[in-house]
Amino acid sequence: MTATITLPEKVEMKKTREGFGRALVALGEQDPRIVVLVGDLSESTMVHFFAEKFPERFIQVGVAEQNMCGIAAGLAAMGKIPFFSTYGAFASCRAADQIRVTVAYTNLNVKIAGAHGGISVGPDGATHQAMEEISIIRSIPNMSMIVPCDYWETYKATLAAAKHVGPVYIRFGREDVPVVTGEHTPFAFGRGEVFAEGRDLTLIACGVMVYEALRARETLATLGISARVVDLHTVKPIDRELIARSARETGAIVTAEEHQVNGGLGGAVAEVVVQQSPVPMELVAVQDRFGQSGKPAELMDAFGLRAKDIVVAAQKVMERKRARG
């Protein structure tokens, strides 16, 4: 099924983390097994909505991410569905060993919510701009990972994570970002969504870069290039079938992510492409460097994470496609 998303000139802006916070409340109402943990970041991660509604199922752990991960594991071992939340930098890096051995190796039903992913975290600077989570989390067996693109998709991803049995990491951001999907846009865990059709190449994106890809598609159209846009929200398990089909049908791929280039979405897509249907690829991502302080918008510009950067990559990949004949 194709959703076919056309963007209005002015797009509504909303926080992805709010989608997470609101979905937790809906989940809490539906399922008494839902328990939420936080490491002294209730409002930043927006679990305060849940805390107000279900104080008896809300656990404040303090500044102790490793401990929090272990507590979530114990809750899961007893049949609860725990969501633990902190900034992505600390969820994915500080608790990495606990995630790997206690949670993933045991295959416990723990849900990890990593807020403040990406360079768009802004003035806090490099320490708080998580840009390694995809590489870290997807390399751990049994882990699943979702990188939703906007408010509604984060909402649905949170519900889907609760439904999926097994450990899931959800990555979302800090800022208001364009709302590109709606309440009824299709979303299925583990499946990419074609947001716009195209013949000449495929833009595969996750997170806020889905919006940038849709904008890039508009520019490419004016240049006579027809681009398919795929929202690959589930980074793991990855939609191999859709990636291989897009490679076959369009013959070139550009990936886009607000994340390090090493081992991220681009790498995950490339792993499928090289094995199933090799075509020219370009990877739009952060080029192996730490972030820095600045305004979110100026950082997105400076780190090459804009529609115009996707357009440049698309032109490059088209040249290579043509050279191959």
């Binding site: 102790a64 490793q66 600390f90 806090d124 320490t127 302080s293």
Partner: protein, 303 residues
């Protein structure tokens, strides 16, 4: 209005000894300047933390202008003491102390957290001269200081090491791994300072994840524990002296402080942990601190 900058002769002497050893009155005046800097730079940046930086201002001033053996003009001076803020989020006070002490121009404070400036949201060794190890992920600093202290011991170097921690930060397990290590190796040239302001992001420390009895915890880890009023400069100086004099064990100064100290509407209110004052709020704060935004920003930009 501001306390006088160190004179040339004094700076020269300080280069030799590396310690300013300022008297109480001068430290008191400088701590006021530091608070004015903090409010002014936050008003300009409109992003960053207010509460913790203000609670650290008095012992921070005593540390930089009395205690530490450093040469800001030569941040890697081999004879230097090592200082480290494990609570990386308190950059407004770290950078104010650094700039007032001469590590970099005061005007750099006005570029806090901007794309153009070096003063990153959290301390970056890559960007700011004098920051030796980057920080911002809580709980890691005392381990770094342990390493510096062991290195000094291996080299028979007389360096002293100072590590500033938060009270919420005490909830991180790594703090206690490091505490065990320092006592095990009898790192008596290491001095921890805890900004015991009783607040963290989500509320009162005792409500979030109690750390009491904090002094007893450190005592039971075999540290020399010194408790003081973290806003009483004579008491802080006595605590530093006691830490220096104590042999055989690492010392920790538990500095009882008030989050947001010095600005009436911020004092003791956890909601000021991580946000800056709006420009009109900053003006009120600066009036309380005996200056104005116009006056103080002009002072910063002139240097």
């Amino acid at each position: 209005m501001s306390s006088a900058a160190p004179g040339a002769a004094e700076l020269e002497a300080a280069h030799r000894s590396g310690r300013l050893e300022w008297p109480v009155e001068r430290l008191t005046a400088k701590a006021l300047d530091i608070r004015r800097d903090i409010v002014t730079l936050l008003s300009k940046s409109q992003t960053g933390h207010s509460g913790g930086p203000l609670s650290c201002a008095d012992f921070g001033t005593a540390l930089f202008f009395h205690e530490l053996n450093i040469d800001p003009a030569n941040p890697r001076w081999p004879e230097r003491d090592y200082w480290h803020f494990s609570i990386g989020h308190v950059t407004p006070v770290i950078y104010s102390l650094m700039a007032e002490r001469g590590y970099f121009p005061l005007r750099d404070l006005m570029k806090f957290r901007t794309f153009e400036g070096h003063a990153q949201g959290h301390p970056s060794a890559h960007d700011t001269p004098g920051i030796e190890v980057s920080a911002g992920s809580l709980g890691q600093g005392l381990s770094v200081c342990n390493g510096v202290a062991m290195g000094a011991r291996i080299d028979h170097h007389p360096r002293r090491i100072y590590c500033v921690m938060g009270d919420g930060e005490q909830q991180e397990g790594q703090i206690w791994e490091a505490a065990m290590f320092a006592a095990h190796y009898r790192l008596d040239h290491l001095c921890g300072i805890i900004d015991y302001n009783h607040k963290q992001i989500d509320g009162d420390v005792e409500d979030i994840m109690g750390v009491k009895p904090l002094a007893d915890k450190w005592r039971s880890f075999n540290w020399n524990v010194i408790e003081c009023d973290g806003h009483d400069i004579p008491g802080i100086l006595r605590s530093f002296a006691a830490a220096r004099a104590h042999g055989g064990r690492p010392s920790v100064i538990i500095a009882d402080t008030v989050m947001g100290r010095g600005v009436s509407y911020m004092a003791d209110d956890y909601r000021w942990h991580g946000k800056p004052p709006k420009p009109d709020q900053a003006e009120t704060a600066l009036q309380e601190l005996g200056t104005s935004y116009a006056e103080w920003s002009a002072r910063l930009l002139a240097h």
